[in-house]
Subunit: 388 residues, 2 copies
C-alpha cells in the first residue's frame, strides 16, 4: 500500500535489554523521546490516533492494552488500537498508522511497540514465543520456536555448503554492529569461531545464532506526507508498506527454507513504492535467528537461492559493504522485544536517513527497506523509506 | 473517520452460544456465509486483505492468529492483521477495514471476529474478561469485570430512581428480541420480575443483567464505496467509524456512570458521517450488562443523563418504538463472543437496512448506528451506516 501518504517526523527508542522498567514506563520513554525529537510544531500538533504493537505487553495487561498507550501519550482520549501479529506486530502497526494519517490531517499519528519479557518465567516465555507459531500442530507437539528455525536452517544448510559459515558471519557482523548502538542489548564482539563453538540450542543453531529475550519500546510519529515539512526539514517518507500472510504451520508449506509471505510483501512494496531494489541504501531485516537474515536476503530478492551465503561472506552486508544489513545490530544483537521490533527498525531508518545515527552512521544513505516477520513467516511486512 | 469510503456488500454469522465447533471452523462458517451472501461478482473479486478481531481466539492460538483467517478465507497469502481492543475489537477492526478498501480497489476487504470461550475453564474465563479492564489496579485487586459494572450501576441507580426497573426492561426487551433471532444464544422470554428476582452477580446486577459467555463468529465484506454496486444493488454504506479511548482504570475517571470514550467516538462519527442523530433508524449498542445499554443511550446523545430510564420504560427502544435498540437481542440475549461482537453488530445492520432481517425486520429503516465498547469504556467505536 501506497505512495507518499505519510512521513516519519519523530522517533524514540529505549534501551533494549533486561531492564528494570515496566512496559508502561518503557512506552512513555519511547513516546517522550519521539515527541522530543520533532524539530518544531509538535505543541500545536497533538497526537490524533495511536497504534500499539505488542504480543503480550508485560504479561499482565494482555487485553485492551492500547488504552495504556493513550494514557502515556499525553492525555487519554484519542483512538488507540492494538495490533498483534506476533513478531511482525510493529510492521503491521506501521501499515495501520500510515493509513490513519489522513484522518489526522492537523496532527500526528503515533505508532509504538513494546514488550516486557524478562519478568516472565521461562515456561511462560516459551509459551509466549510458541504461540507465534502454530499451536495445534507445532507448539502442542513439542516444537519450540527455536526448533522451527532449526529445521529451517537444517533444510537450508543441506543445500548450501557455506550456510553454517555464513550464519556465523551474520552473528559476528550483527554483534559488531551492536557495539556501536547504545540501545543494543548486546554490545560485545564475537568471532565466527565463538558462534560455531557455542552450545547448541536447536541444531544447527547455537546460542549465538539466536536473538535474546529483551525488554524495550520504540515509537515513531507520522504526519501526512504533504504536511511533513511543518514539523521538520528532514522528514523520512514511507514509500510503501507491503504485507502478506502464509499458512501458520510450516508443515503446510511447500518448502521450509523460503518465506513466501516475505516475497509477497516485497512484491507489494516494490509495486506501490517508487523505488527499485537497486536503489535501496540499506536493509533492516528480521534476523530472529541467523538463518533468518540469509532467508530474508533471498526472499526479498537481493540474492538468488543460496546466494545470501556468498553475499554475507563477501562482506557486502557489513557497514562498509555495498548493501549494509542491520547496522543497528539487528534482532540478533540489538535485541527483540517482540512488539517493539518492527517499530525499532523504522527508528533506525529514521536516524540513518537523517544522518543522525552517530557512531554507526552509514555514509550517504538515502533509502532503506525494513522487513518484519511474524512467527516463522506466517505474517510479514516489507516497508520502503526515502529521505525527504 | 471518513465519509463514504466503504460499503458492506456481504455478511455472514454463525450461531452464538455454547457450540461444538472450534474457532477455526467458526471463522470459516462466517466467512463462507459472507462470501455466499454477495449478490454477484465475488468470483472475480478475491479477498485482498483481512482483519481479525479477537481477544483470545480459542485460548490456544493467541499469537499470530490472523494467519488462520488468511487460511480460512480462500487461500493464505493476503495481508492479515489481528486487532485486539478487548470487547471493542470488532469495531476497531471495522475501522481498519474501511481504511484498507482503497488498497484493495479491485477486490474486497474481509473483517471477521471470533471467540471460542465456553471451552475455557472458569478461572481462565475470568482472567480473559478481567484483562479487558485494568489489571494493575482492578483485576489484581480482586475486582471482577461484572464487579466494575456493578459499581457503575450502583452509582447510576443512586441518582436515578427508576434505574433498576429500566435495567430490568432492557433485559426483558432484549430477550424478547432474541426470540426472533435464530443466531441468538438465548431465545427465551423473561419478565421484568424474573430479572429483579434473579440471583445477584454483582449488586445491583443479577444474573439476567449480564450477557452470557458465548462462542461465535461474524464477518463482513467491504468494497470501496464507488465500486459497491458491482457486487450488489443494495450495499450498506459505512458513513463513518468514530473511535476513542479513555483511562483504563475506572478509578482514574471523574465519573463512574458515563463513558467519555463513547461520547468522543460519537462526536467523531457525527462530525465525519453525513447523518444527524434524528435521522438514525435504529441502534446496535454494547449492552454487556443492562446498565450499559442505559449508559449508551445517554453517552451517544439520545437521552440526557438519567433520561435513558424513561426512554426505555416508555417502550421507545422496543422494535415498535421510535428508536429501536438491539433488535437482534444485543449482547444480552444474542450473546457476546468478544471479538465477534462488533462485527456482529455490522451484520445485523446489513440485514436490517437491506430489509432481510426476517422475523425481526424493523419497518422502513434506512440508517443505523453501532456502538462497541472495550472493557469498561477504555476503548469505544461508534459507526454510522446508510442503505445504498
Amino acid at each position: 500500500m501506497g505512495r507518499h501518504r505519510a512521513a516519519i517526523v519523530g522517533a524514540g527508542h529505549t534501551r533494549f535489554g533486561a531492564l528494570e522498567a515496566g512496559p508502561r514506563s518503557l512506552l512513555r520513554s519511547a513516546v517522550d523521546g519521539a515527541l522530543g525529537s520533532v524539530d518544531r510544531g509538535v505543541d500545536r500538533a497533538p497526537i490524533r490516533e495511536a497504534f500499539l504493537a505488542t504480543l503480550g505487553f508485560g504479561g499482565w495487561q494482555i487485553g485492551n492494552a492500547s488504552a495504556v498507550l493513550g494514557e502515556e501519550s499525553g492525555g487519554a482520549g484519542v483512538p488507540t488500537t492494538r495490533i498483534e501479529n506476533a513478531c511482525a506486530s510493529g510492521g503491521f502497526a506501521l501499515r495501520a498508522g500510515v493509513r490513519a494519517v489522513h484522518d489526522a490531517a492537523d496532527g500526528l499519528v503515533l505508532v509504538a511497540g513494546v514488550e516486557k519479557m524478562t519478568d516472565l518465567t521461562s515456561p511462560r516465555r516459551r509459551y509466549w514465543l510458541g504461540v507465534s507459531g502454530d499451536t495445534e500442530w507445532e507448539r502442542l507437539a513439542g516444537l519450540t520456536f527455536a526448533g522451527v528455525y532449526g529445521l529451517i536452517a537444517s533444510a537450508y544448510a543441506a543445500r548450501h555448503s557455506t550456510a553454517r559459515e555464513a550464519m556465523a558471519e551474520v552473528a559476528r557482523k550483527n554483534h559488531e554492529n551492536g557495539t556501536r548502538n547504545p540501545n543494543a542489548h548486546f554490545r560485545k564482539r564475537i568471532a565466527r569461531a565463538d558462534v560455531l563453538a557455542a552450545p547448541r540450542v536447536a541444531d544447527p543453531l547455537g546460542l549465538y545464532d539466536c536473538c535474546p529475550v529483551s525488554d524495550g519500546a520504540a515509537a515513531v510519529l507520522l504526519a501526512p506526507a504533504d504536511r511533513a515539512r511543518e514539523y521538520t526539514d528532514t522528514p523520512v517518507y514511507v514509500e510503501a508498506v507491503g504485507a502478506a500472510s502464509d499458512r501458520l504451520a510450516v508443515q503446510e508449506r511447500p518448502e521450509l527454507a523460503r518465506f513466501p509471505a516475505t516475497e509477497r510483501a516485497a512484491a507489494e512494496a516494490f509495486r506501490d513504492g517508487d523505488l527499485r531494489r537497486e536503489e535501496i541504501g540499506f536493509l533492516e531485516v528480521h534476523d530472529c535467528f541467523t538463518i533468518a537474515e540469509l532467508l530474508a536476503l533471498e526472499d526479498l530478492g537481493f540474492a538468488p537461492p543460496g546466494g545470501a551465503c556468498d553475499l554475507t561472506l563477501s562482506g557486502a552486508t557489513s557497514p562498509g559493504g555495498r548493501l549494509p544489513v542491520n547496522p543497528d545490530g539487528g534482532l540478533k544483537a540489538k535485541g527483540h522485544p517482540i512488539g517493539a521490533t518492527g517499530v525499532s527498525q523504522a527508528y533506525e531508518i529514521f536516524l540513518q536517513l537523517r544522518a543522525a545515527a552517530g557512531d554507526r552512521q552509514l555514509p550517504g544513505v538515502e533509502t532503506a527497506l525494513a522487513h518484519n516477520v511474524g512467527g516463522a513467516g506466517a505474517t510479514a511486512t516489507v516497508s520502503l523509506f526515502r529521505r525527504g
